[in-house]
Amino acid sequence: MTRDEIRTGVIAALAAVVPELEPGGLDPRVSLRDQLDIDSMDFLNFTIGLHKAFGVEIPETDARQLATLDGCVEYLAARLAARDRPSAA
């Protein structure tokens, strides 16, 4: 999965909790909570949305890595790469 595809999936998960989201107005390096006024329930629902869309488990201790749009993309790219990497025989 490319980073653009991941970004599209992240924005879709965000839009599910922030219906008025305008992706073009999102600064990818600024905290999502601050930009979108989301609370812990919204953030939990967003994390569940990512889990369902990408099929990866997201430990609570990793939540800080999901603070920004860029952070989400980098985190998920790494998780997906680790999941899809052939394990040593």
């Binding site: 219906p19 008025e20 006024d37 609370d39 812990s40 329930m41 629902n45 889990h51 430990p59 609570e60």
Partner: protein, 388 residues
Amino acid sequence: MPEFLLPKLGADMTEGRLVEWLKKPGEPIARGDVIAVVETDKANIEVESWVPGTMEKILVEPGPDWMPVGTPLALIRAEGPEAAAPPPPTQPRAPPPAAPPAPRPLAAAHPPPPGERVHVSPAARRRAEALGVDLAAVQGTGPDGRITLEDVDRAAAAKPQPSAPPDRRDRMREAIAAAMSRAKREIPHYYLSTTVDFGPATQWLEARNRERPVTERLLHGVLLLKAVALALRAVPELNGFWIDGRAVQSDAVHVGVAVSLRGGGLVAPALRDADKQSLDALMRSFQDLVTRARAGTLRGAEMTDATVTVTSLGERGVESVFGIIYPPQLALVGFGKIVERPWVVGGAVVARPVITATLSGDHRATDGHRGALFLDAVDRFLQNPQKL
């Protein structure tokens, strides 16, 4: 035959608007079935029928008119003995059905007058029909003045937007103003606060969430709600309503949760029997309630059942909340931000996460002493999160 009346969905509701019927005449109705959607000042609410039977007759059609609480909306033929009784003569007490909405202009559906032929592509014509755009008023920018899809979209965007969203916000603000003014005018509030060591709860929560998938995670807010519900069992004088000049305790603990809405305003729907639910069940109920509150799909009972309200503003940095009681309730509980503070444990100063819990109490119903016992109980329950 029982009439289905426009219900009062909150102490501050005086009127509502029928948005949609979810049952047609002849359809069976089970107790608790959602049968209509009603717009209030705060949200669109799914309204249940507590009378099982059959939808007999619809008295009021959905429309733009606001009606007073208590307006008969439909007749329900009840099951059981009442159904066998001869039906009383139907008195058309309902206001006349609301006028249907004015038809959208569908100029494109009719050929333009001779000499004023509009050049427009079939796709643009279909789009104009769908968006309710009058093609006669659209300036074409395509070849020979032909109206393009972009022209239609531009014309649709330039149309005056429906005034519903700002109107809803205004109405909600008015409803909140009315309820809060009444509360401040009629309820002699007293306020108490205490600082609670949140270390045990934080440690327990982190350990618990570490072992569970994201779909089963708990938020710290659900521990607070459960602690409040259990503390109300211990100090029931704060759980209930002020009715006809006296306090009436509630046997059930239905915790109203203040939920801020995107775009402004708030609602405080009830988590029913919060004291009896496990933390996992309460979390799912809490998650469902907040999601539906923000989506505008709350149920009528959820808007009226709360026996106390809990508000938390900690996520935006507030350390303590001294709220206004939502009448006719007897108390409001507030929580602030979880912050690290120096704390003495076993004679040593250590850094601990702490949270400020506050109580706004109705002095007509209780005194500070009962309020203090309540906050002490909240503190005790939070020191043993595994028992919540």
